[in-house]
Every structure is written in structure tokens, then in C-alpha cells.
């Protein structure tokens, strides 16, 4: 009996030392949380409300979002095997175009939900990639699970995919891009995207 107790105490101490490490949220979560908090504080800034401030607001948000997301990685993954065939100039043009398309749509949606509460529910890592899981409690009575997939590049964690309600954005775009290139051509895809961005 006594012997057992002798074992328990060191184990307990060991557990206490290990506990803070295990309970601490991952590095990727912390980086993402900081980016999201900064984005939300810009969106909630009383000096930046209303449609007439939209441009100024979006500019500030984009400055954060460009750090938060790795748009080159996003574009590369969305084009899949067709990325390799493109020249450097074509790739750069594509990244700019696709970034505009994504920003144009998701900034407004995010702004609508600026008063939502974001819960960080976990982090799963696989090799160099990490998935940070969040649950967004909207003011409209719904809960939306949004997971961010991040990779560490040049010393910073940046997102390359967003999984909203189980739907990977990059996967949906890859499907459509593949279809377009297969049925017509890369040039036709770019033309379509330009048209989409131009319409606003």
C-alpha cells in the first residue's frame, strides 16, 4: 500500500509539469487568433462604420488578411496540376485575380458577422500542416464551424484553406477550375475570373 503511494506522488508532480504544456493552445491557433482579433477590431471600429467607410475599412482589413492567408498557396492548390504549366508572370497575375475574387466576396460576409463570437475548439496537426477549428456563434442564432488550414512558411503560420461547415473552399474552387480548363482552356478560365471580379 505504502509502495503504491510512493509511486503516486512523483507521477502527480510529473503530471503537473506536463499539464501546462498540454493545455496550452497551439502556436498556430495563437497566430490565427491574433489575426482574427485584429480583423474583428477593425470591423467593429466605430470610426469605420457605414457604407461610405467601406473602402477605407476594406483596405485596412486586407492588410491583415494578406498576412493571414497565403494567397499564392491558395492559388496553387486551387489550380492543382495546372499550376505547374504556368509561367511566373501568369502565376502572379492569377494570384492577384483570385485574391480579388475571394476578398470581394468574403469581406462583406465577414463584416455582416462582425459581432459574432468565435470559439477556438481545437487544433489538429499533420506534419507541417495544422487545422485550427473554430465555431462561430452568429447573432442570427446559428453556429457555423469554420476550420482554417495553415502551413508554416518563412517562419510564419499562414492559412491556405478555409473549411466552412465541412466545405473546403479550395476544393470547391479546384473542382470548378479543373472543369473549366478541361472543357475549354486556362485562358478561358482567366477571362471568366476577370469578368467575375469586374462585375463586383
Amino acid at each position: 500500500m505504502m509502495k503504491k503511494y510512493n509511486m503516486v506522488l512523483p507521477l502527480l508532480l510529473l503530471a503537473l509539469f506536463l499539464l501546462p504544456r498540454a493545455a496550452r493552445a497551439g502556436e498556430a491557433t495563437e497566430v490565427l487568433r491574433a489575426d482574427i482579433d485584429r480583423t474583428l477590431s477593425v470591423m467593429r471600429d466605430p470610426a469605420l462604420q457605414g457604407p461610405e467607410k467601406e473602402e477605407e475599412r476594406n483596405e485596412k482589413i486586407m492588410a491583415i488578411v494578406e498576412q493571414m492567408f497565403d494567397f499564392e498557396e491558395v492559388s496553387r492548390r486551387s489550380l492543382g496540376r495546372y499550376w505547374r504549366a504556368r509561367s511566373k508572370a501568369e502565376r502572379d497575375a492569377f494570384v492577384r485575380l483570385f485574391t480579388r475574387l475571394l476578398a470581394g466576396s468574403y469581406l462583406n460576409r465577414a463584416y455582416e458577422h462582425r459581432n459574432a463570437k468565435v470559439l477556438y475548439t481545437g487544433e489538429v496537426s499533420r506534419g507541417r500542416k495544422v487545422e485550427v477549428r473554430t465555431k462561430v456563434l452568429t447573432a442570427k442564432g446559428t453556429e457555423v464551424p469554420i476550420n482554417y488550414r495553415l502551413m508554416k512558411k518563412n517562419g510564419r503560420w499562414r492559412a491556405y484553406d478555409m473549411v466552412i461547415e465541412g466545405v473546403s473552399l479550395m476544393s470547391t474552387y479546384r473542382t470548378q477550375f479543373n472543369q473549366k480548363i478541361q472543357r475549354s482552356s486556362y485562358e478561358a478560365l482567366v477571362e471568366d475570373l476577370e469578368q467575375k471580379v469586374g462585375k463586383k
Partner: protein, 254 residues
């Protein structure tokens, strides 16, 4: 209503069983690859593996026609109705209505959680129902979530069938109801039996009216989402098909 859906349910149950038998082999892929959504691109795939989505869509011409119909239905009927309604009813009240309908359909989530042996999820749903029906004034508010951090467990019969190994079967776009597949259609029909609204002593038309009202209320809170999808996708039909399949897979895998 109940007898009506009973027939539909039995017919669909037979179809899903046939589908389940037919789908024990590898996933179907059409010869020209047109129904293949997403490529097996391993350098692009997170090892979670939900990136390669294959949707079996032999009814594509029919489905696209229904997609077109639903698109028009949205812009010419549902959206104007929802806009008029939201002009009269303020948002907090509409959120209350959304919560009320969500609360009364607790049996759907509770029973399906049990069918999947998710005892904790079933208990959570029961707790939410009791708290929200009482403290939350007949479910108009959600104190279970807002005060006690007890979150909704989204379960339905389509997911239950999926958990027990039923494949999605062919992809179907229903008029009025939108994207689905054989499995989820059977699930939808089965879940009608767990929706208390369908047991009200009302005519078929009146019950349909209640469901339509729920739909208009939901739409009023989600205006802009479908527009955004159309605006940012190259082919909205393909986007919805792919997103629907990914969404259901993740629900089943939860």
C-alpha cells in the same frame, strides 16, 4: 400528411437499399470524367482526405433544369416574400422564430443521435430542449447556448443512414427542396415522422403553410448567401453539388 409521406418513405427506402447494394464496389466514375468533382491531387490534399470528392450525377440534365427552376423560384418568389416579411418583422423576432422551429424539431436530432449511439449528443439535445422550452420561453431564446454553452447537435436520418454505411446514391436536385441525394431524400422523408408540426390536427395545406413560413423566415435571415455563391462561382451548379457532398460527408464523419 403522415400517410402521404409514409408511402413516399417506403418507396424511397426500397430505392436506397437497392442503391446500397449497388454501391458496395468502388465509387462510380463516368467515362468522360464530367461527374468527377475534384482531382486526386495528393500534394494539395490535407491528410484528412476530404478533398477528393466524387459525385455520381447521372441525372445532371434533369438536375440542372431543377437548379434553374429553384434559382427562379428564389429570385421571383422566395426572396421578395422574405424581403417583404423582414420589412415588417424585425430581425430579433425572426431569430426567435428560427429558434422556435429549431426547438420543436428536437425529436429529429434526439432520435437520430440515439440511433447513432451518440448518447452524449442525445443528452445534450434533451437538456437544450428542456432549458430552452422553459427558460427560453417556448424556445424563442437560446439560453442553453448563450448562458450554459450547450450547443446544438445537428443530426438527421440521412446522417444516421450514412453512419450505418449507406452511400449517397445518385445526386438529385429537388424542386423547392434543393440539393440532395438518394440517401438524404430517404432521410428527409423519414424525419418528417419526427417533426411535431406534421402531427398537428391541420389540413395538408395548412401544414405545408407552416413549413413554407419557416422557409421564408429562414430565407429572410440568409438573404445574400445564395447571391454570393452565384457571384463568386464559375458554375453555381457544380459549386452547390460539390459543397453539398462535402458538407454531408463531414456531418456523417463527425
Amino acid at each position: 400528411m403522415i400517410r402521404y409521406s409514409m408511402h413516399a418513405f417506403l418507396i424511397l427506402a426500397v430505392i436506397v437499399l437497392l442503391q446500397a447494394c449497388a454501391h458496395t464496389g468502388p465509387s462510380p466514375v463516368t467515362q468522360d470524367g464530367q461527374a468527377v468533382d475534384g482531382q486526386a491531387d495528393d500534394e494539395a490534399a490535407f491528410p484528412d482526405g476530404d478533398e477528393t470528392i466524387t459525385v455520381y450525377d447521372p441525372l445532371e440534365p434533369f438536375n440542372r433544369a431543377m437548379f434553374y427552376f429553384n434559382d427562379k423560384l428564389y429570385f421571383y418568389a422566395l426572396k421578395p416574400a422574405a424581403q417583404g416579411y423582414s420589412y415588417v418583422v424585425p430581425e430579433p423576432a425572426r431569430v426567435g422564430v428560427r429558434r422556435f422551429f429549431s426547438n420543436i424539431t428536437t425529436p429529429v436530432r434526439f432520435v437520430n443521435a440515439l440511433l447513432q449511439f451518440k448518447v452524449h449528443a442525445a443528452g445534450t439535445e434533451l437538456a437544450r430542449f428542456l432549458i430552452n422550452s422553459w427558460v427560453g420561453v417556448a424556445g424563442l431564446m437560446d439560453p442553453a447556448r448563450d448562458r450554459w454553452q450547450i450547443y446544438k447537435q445537428d443530426e438527421d436520418l440521412g446522417q444516421t443512414l450514412g453512419v450505418f454505411g449507406a452511400g449517397p446514391g445518385i445526386y438529385i436536385t429537388w424542386p423547392f427542396l434543393g440539393p440532395s441525394n438518394i440517401r438524404d431524400t430517404v432521410g428527409f422523408a423519414g424525419d418528417l415522422f419526427l417533426d411535431p408540426v406534421n402531427y398537428l390536427d391541420l389540413t395538408y395545406l395548412e401544414i405545408t403553410g407552416i413549413h413554407a413560413y419557416d422557409r421564408v423566415n429562414e430565407t429572410s435571415l440568409d438573404i445574400g448567401i445564395y447571391e454570393e455563391i452565384k457571384r463568386t462561382s464559375l458554375d453555381p451548379y457544380t459549386f452547390v453539388r460539390n459543397a453539398y457532398e462535402q458538407h454531408r460527408r463531414s456531418k456523417i464523419g463527425e
